[in-house]
Symmetry: D2
Subunit: 92 residues, 4 copies
């Protein structure tokens, strides 16, 4: 089933500036084939629910493999059965 | 002190489509004098911390006064003392 | 890898009282084999990251199959490599 | 108007272990006169909406005054007009 989501990755203990890791997380989401839209508090994505959740897993595993010790991620996930959920459909 | 925030207002029990109320919440935030940026999962704002919190209160009170029975709002709030936090500074 | 998470499921358009569906979501998480702890704003869980994400997918698919039209879920996800993350370790 | 809320304070750049600051934030919320309930992903509170928002402001200002450079706070805020919202009423 299709879903929309917002994914915000916060590295904890990686310094006050977290831009490098946040940018890397956004890049991993974009590379996963999902439609992505960056904003100041996260990356909005659109795609298959399973693909979105798999992309979240990949972000955590990759950032940890690259040396980030602790991650706190906030995800908002939207699904509906009356019509196909899209990021565009949530704007006005 | 200055802050950046993301504010997402979800009306519960107001039907499957919540666009009217979400749009009204965004308008109230924009009318409050804060800098605002709309995206698919909320309104990002920038301004004085006290003004942001006051705007959140006004959104809840106004929407309820206009008939919405239940609201669930998600807020992300960012402050820092090493430099002035801005929405633009969180993009890359 | 192990993770801790908070999962809050909000049915939209299912009436002002959402207790039945929230309870069902909690039950599905508990049935998934994860360690769970209920509180007023969600269900905290502890387990394998992949199992947690799979449980989130199952909650959305099951609630929709049972008639809920629209779901907005908020997830907080924590992972760390310096020690095993546990719910108990986050209390004080 | 009465409200329930969940408040989670994340210090960024204050090291991998953030227990000291999270505990301090919880104490400030408890000291504010709100009813509080600690869990692994935040402090749930119940009280007047204005008091809750004022307590959030106090947490940010106090932690910064005590040396924390950057804070990311996640707040869930619930209000309703059909009955008085309580933390107890959200459990089952």
């Amino acid at each position: 089933m299709k879903a929309t989501a917002e994914i915000q990755v916060i590295p904890i203990g990686a310094g006050v500036s977290v831009r490098t890791h946040v940018k890397r997380a956004h890049q991993l989401l974009a590379d996963s084939g999902l439609q992505v839209a960056l904003h100041a508090f996260g990356t909005n994505v659109e795609g298959e629910l399973a693909d979105i959740l798999e992309a979240v897993r990949r972000v955590h595993e990759t950032l940890h493999a690259e040396g980030v010790i602790r991650l706190a991620t906030a995800i908002k996930l939207g699904t509906r059965t009356d019509k196909e959920p899209t990021l565009a459909g949530k704007l006005f």
